[in-house]
C-alpha cells in the first residue's frame, strides 16, 4: 500500500496493481481533530462516478457540515457502511476503520503531485 495526502486533509491508500488500482479514501487525524465530534457521515453509493476536486462525501460534526472532495477521480466500488451506525469511528480511527469509500481510479496520473506522509506532516506542522 502507498499512502498519499491532500492539502484538504484527505488520505488515499493505493494498492500496487497499476492495471486495476483501487484507492481507499478517508480524512486525516488532523482533520477529525479540527472537526470535533462527528455525528453523521454521508458516503457516495457504490457505482457513483466521482471527479477529482468535486464533492464526494459529507461529514457533519455537532457544530457544522463539511464537504469532503474526491482527491482523485474514479468509480466508487465500496462505501464504509459501518459509519452509518457509528460515525464516531472517524474520530477514534480516522486512518483505519473510519475510512469513507474505495474508488477504482480512472487516472493514475492524478496521484502525482499529492503529498507523501512526510510532506503532509511538514504541511500540517506549518498550519
Amino acid at each position: 500500500m502507498t499512502y498519499y495526502f491532500t492539502r484538504d486533509h484527505e488520505w488515499i491508500s493505493v494498492n500496487a496493481t497499476i492495471e486495476d488500482a483501487v484507492a481507499t479514501v478517508g480524512i486525516t487525524d488532523y482533520a477529525q481533530a479540527q472537526l470535533g465530534d462527528i455525528v453523521f457521515v454521508e458516503v457516495p453509493p457504490v457505482g457513483t462516478i466521482v471527479e477529482k476536486g468535486k464533492e464526494a462525501a459529507v461529514v457533519e460534526s455537532v457544530k457544522a457540515a463539511s464537504d469532503v472532495y474526491a482527491p482523485v477521480s474514479g468509480e466508487v466500488v465500496e462505501a464504509n457502511r459501518a459509519l452509518e451506525g457509528e460515525p464516531a469511528l472517524v474520530n477514534t480511527a480516522p486512518e483505519t476503520d473510519g475510512w469513507f469509500f474505495r474508488l477504482r481510479l480512472t487516472n493514475i496520473a492524478e496521484l502525482h503531485g499529492l503529498m507523501d506522509g512526510e510532506a503532509y506532516k511538514t504541511y500540517v506542522a506549518g498550519l
Binding site: D8, H9, E10, I27, A31, Q34, L35, G36, D37, V39, F40, E42, V58, V59, E60, S61, V62, K63, A64, A65, S66, D67, V68, Y69, E84, P87
Partner: protein, 375 residues
Amino acid sequence: MSEPVEDLPLEALPLDGWHRARGARMVPFAGYHMPIQYEGIIAEHLWTRTHAGLFDVSHMGQLLISGDGVDEGLEALLPADIKGLGEGRQRYSLLLNEEGGILDDLMVTRRADGLYVVVNGAVKHDDIGHLREHLADEITINHMEDQALLAVQGPEAVAAVARLAPGVEALFFMQAGAFAIDGVPVWISRSGYTGEDGVEISLPAEAAERIATLLCEQPEVKPIGLGARDSLRLEAGLPLYGHDLSPETTPVSADLGFALSKRRREEGGFPGHARIIAERAAGPALKRVGLFVEGRQPVREGGLVVNVEGEPVGHVTSGGFSPSLQAPIAMAYIPTAAAIVGQEVLLEQRGKRIVATVAAMPFVTHRYHRQGAAK
C-alpha cells in the same frame, strides 16, 4: 474539506489566556476570540447535564441603567412589567422596534443602584445606541466593560458555587443578589441558558482569572465551550438572537408570549403594541417550533421547510445534533396551521428532502429551581 474563514479584527476577553492555557480551541465570535471547545462538545455537553459547567460569557453586554424615570423609560422600549419588578428580581424581555420586531432579547434585574441589563454580545453596541437615542438625557447608561460574566450551569452548579459564595443556595430561579467570592464583590443571579439549574456571576474583570480558577477547582466544575453552550440551549428550546430571533420576528411569531406581561398587553405603550395584540388574536403567519429530524443527519440554519410541491413555506433557524437525545433536532419557523406537536413537515437541505416532526419544546426538561415548585 471546506472551512469558513473570517477576517475581522478580534478583541481578547479577560479570560483569553486562561482558556488557551486549558487547551481551548479559540474561534471568532461576536468580535472576540472565544473558546468553542476544550475536550469535545459532546463530552462537555453531557458533563454540564450531569455535573456543572463553567461558561465564559464576558462578550455579553452588561449595562446598569439608572436615573429618575428609568422604569417608565425602559417600559416604553420593551413589553415587560418593569414597575412591578422588585429588588433582586430578574425578568426576560425583548427590545422591540416600532413594528414589534425583535431587536434583541435580554435579562433585566432590579438592583439598589439601578436596572442591571444583560444583552447579547453581537448587538450590544446597537442596543446601547438604541437605548441612548430613546431614553431621556437624565437617564444614565453605564456599559460595565470592566465586568466579566461567568455562568455555572448544571445540577451540581449551585452546590459548587455556594461553597465559595455562601447564601447563593437561597436564591430561587430568576432571583439575584450581591455576594462575595474570595473577598471580591460579585453579583449572582440564579439563571442561565442551558435549561439546567445554575447561576450567572458578574465580577470585576481583573478578578476573573482567579475566580474562574477557584470555580474550576470545585470537583463538579469543568470549563465548557461555546459549542456545548449552543447544543445545550437548543435542547432547552431557548432561542438564539441573530438566528431564531431577528427584527423580522415578533414576540408572537417567536412563541415568546410569556414575555408580554398582562398589564403591558392591556395598557400598551411599548413599540409595536397594536400589531402584536392583533397578531396574538389572529395568530402569526409563521411560528417558531421545535422539530425532531428523522435519521441522523442534522438540518442546520438555512434549511428550508417546504410543502408537498416543494415550495418553501418556512425555514430552519437553528439545528444540530442533540447529545442528550442522540438525534438531530432543530428550531424552525413554519406556518401556524402546521405548528401542532406531532405534525409531519418536510425539510430541504442542499437539495435533499428530510422528514421532521413538530416537537414540544423544551426537547430536554428544564430543571430550574423555581420558588414554590414541587420537589
